[in-house]
């Protein structure tokens, strides 16, 4: 009996093993997920779970030192509560009782849009130069563009503080030359200082993906266009620009999205006039000790960014462009 039991147990084990083997054999990609599983678990625990926790937290409230965990929309109401008193910012009406978060959000988005446009205008010609003009020492150019991406962001902001400050490089140099008598005080601590610094911090980052999409363009297409009588400008307009559009669009999003939430740059070079939504989130989580409201502001910011990105991709017909690229 015990033999029989053992026999059946072994047989059962074999069958189970065979089934398992065949499952992996039938679906070899399962091994891929098996290999990825540690990474996926970590990302799940450290990306998905925290964001879920953040969203949940935004429906709770802070009672001085304790957190009230009853579900409420109070934080969102605080952000969106309408009021008869209309606050104007840049002549945009904000009919809200507590408009500061929404004004900062709109302001941050507008500033980021300006930064993104500026970055793309600066980066595209540079990427074009590297893809089509540089023949020798290409590696050197790539290194020159790559190094600033990885060297401290904080230090680059610090450098602009030194450049633009009241006793900074630009002011002291202008005084030395005799162009001005007193330091210009609008250089530092203004939205334009923030935008300039942000653009400088992101521009190197934007070049590489555009460069890759330009480099991938089949050169014979360009030759064909020339043979068929296209002038260089027409050739650029009909071939190079459309073919590099997906890369450029993706790049602009990779600049736009993170800059909306930046808070280091506005803190260091923005002053009170140049503050952005990231500053209020930081203050809510820090000094004001109101994590639930801070979470709600973060959720609203993410939702608005996602909506803008989707709208933008839909407006430019990103799918169609991608499909065209695939052909």
């Amino acid at each position: 009996m015990s033999d029989a039991a053992k026999g059946s147990f072994v047989a059962h084990g074999d069958r189970a093993r065979a089934a398992k083997g065949s499952l992996i054999q039938r679906f070899p990609w399962l091994r891929g997920y098996l290999l990825m599983s540690p990474t996926l678990l970590v990302m799940l625990a450290m990306l998905v779970a925290p964001i879920v926790a953040l969203v949940v937290r935004s429906f709770w409230t802070q009672n001085v030192f304790q957190i009230d965990t009853t579900f409420t929309l109070r934080n969102y109401a605080q952000i969106f509560q309408l009021s008869d008193k209309i606050t104007y910012w840049m002549s945009i009406p904000f009919p809200f009782a507590n408009p500061v978060y929404l004004i900062l959000l709109v302001k941050s988005i507008l500033m980021s849009l300006a930064v993104t446009a500026f970055v793309m205008l600066l980066a595209y010609p540079m990427a074009y130069f590297m893809a089509f003009r540089v023949r020798r020492h290409k590696f050197l150019w790539l290194i020159l563009i790559t190094v600033p991406i990885w060297t401290s962001y904080l230090l680059r902001v610090f450098a602009w503080k030194i450049m633009l400050g009241f006793n900074g490089v630009i002011n002291s140099s202008l005084i030395k030359i005799g162009l001005i008598d007193k330091p210009l005080d609008f250089l530092l601590y203004s939205p334009s200082a923030v935008m300039l610094t942000l653009a400088h911090a992101w521009v190197a980052f934007a070049i590489l993906p555009i460069y890759v999409s330009l480099e991938k363009i089949d050169r014979s297409l360009l030759e064909a266009a020339t043979d068929l009588g296209d002038k260089p400008w027409e050739r650029f307009w009909h071939i190079t620009l459309p073919l590099s559009a997906p890369g450029a669009i993706a790049t602009s999003l990779m600049v736009f999205i993170p800059t909306v939430g930046d808070y280091v740059t506005p803190t260091l070079v923005g002053g009170s006039g140049g503050s952005m939504i990231g500053n209020s989130i930081q203050i809510l989580f820090g000094r004001q000790n109101d994590a639930p409201l801070g979470s709600a502001v973060s959720v609203v910011m993410m939702a608005v960014i996602t909506a803008i990105v989707c709208l933008f991709l839909w407006a430019v017909g990103y799918r169609k462009i991608r499909a065209r690229e695939a052909i």
Binding site: P28, W29, R31, G32, Y33, L35, M36, P38, T39, V42, M43, M46, L47, V48, A49, P50, I51, A53, L54, P125, M126, F129, R133, L142, I143, L144, I145, T146, P148, W150, T151, S152, L154, L155, R156, F158, A159, I162, M163, G168, V169, S173, H200, V203, V212, P232, L253, M254, P258, T259, G261, D262, Y263, V264, Q282, F285, A291, S298, M301, M302
Partner: protein, 267 residues
């Protein structure tokens, strides 16, 4: 045509000046014998650097940063390698969304990631904020980069080498150590170096997730408030700049050499 050839190289040079000019002021002024960072330069001095070497809290934060960066680079490279091996070897259904998810930390504003991690660490699990929490946050930021670097490397080499090793009787583990890992090695080193610099320079997450132990960027940031400390801050900034630059150049050389046979790789 002729006009554009004239214009683009000039633009490229101006662009490089714009890109590097402000940053190069840091080392320039760090050797200047004055409390303010203004022209004209006064005289050459190494005072700031001497001061830097004798600042105990600076040395402490340097030690903290080096520990975190070393741990982060090893852990995120390991995770990146596993994920890259999975993605490059098998045609997995749902690969697109999964990859998108892993790459998400590249685009989500880091303040969102930081506060989300802060909420889950402090308010959900009540984990005290230490260098470990900073390291965990940095791993989240570095894994996407590690994975990209290693995918580019793994896609470049011949799969039949691994198959040959299997046919010759090596088991999966030995094949990994004797074939896959050596072939991926330039990518691995590049990923280690890149994660190391990202962690060494990262400020936002470190600010939110560190407790009493400072990292170097946090120390640097705290020094920015004191105008009289400017020379030392400049010296510290310049040192970080030089170290990061060397690491990045080395890492890029390894990475680009590794994938030269295939298409030019992106980030």
């Amino acid at each position: 045509m002729a006009r554009r050839i004239d214009f683009l190289p000039i633009y490229a040079v101006l662009f490089l000046i714009f890109l590097y000019g402000p940053v190069l002021l840091l080392p320039l002024f760090s050797f200047n014998d004055a409390t303010y960072a203004v022209f004209p330069l006064k005289g050459f001095t190494l005072k700031a650097y001497q001061q830097m070497m004798h600042d105990p809290s600076l040395l402490k934060s340097l030690k903290n940063s080096l520990m975190v960066a070393t741990g982060v680079s090893i852990v995120s490279t390991a995770f990146g390698l596993l994920a890259a091996m999975g993605v490059t070897r098998y045609k997995m259904p749902g690969r697109g969304p999964v990859m998108g998810g892993i790459m998400l930390p590249l685009v989500v504003p880091s303040i969102i990631l930081s506060v989300a991690l802060l909420v889950i660490a402090r308010q959900v699990f009540d984990i005290p904020l230490t260098l470990w929490t900073v390291g965990a946050g940095h791993v989240l930021l570095c894994v996407p980069f590690s994975m990209m670097v290693l995918m580019a490397r793994l896609e470049g080499f011949d799969k039949s080498l691994e198959e040959a090793s299997g046919d010759l009787g090596e088991n999966g583990w030995m094949t990994f150590w004797r074939v896959t890992f050596p072939l991926a090695l330039p990518g691995v080193v590049s990923s280690l170096l890149m994660s190391f610099t990202i962690s060494l320079d990262e400020y936002v997450m470190a600010f939110f997730l560190s407790g009493l132990d400072q990292t170097l960027p946090i120390f640097l940031y705290s020094q920015l408030r004191f105008p009289q400390r400017l020379p030392m801050t400049l010296a510290l900034g310049s040192t970080i700049l030089v170290i990061s630059t060397i690491i990045v150049i080395f890492s890029e050389i390894l990475r680009r050499r590794g994938v030269q046979t295939t298409k030019p790789s992106g980030l």
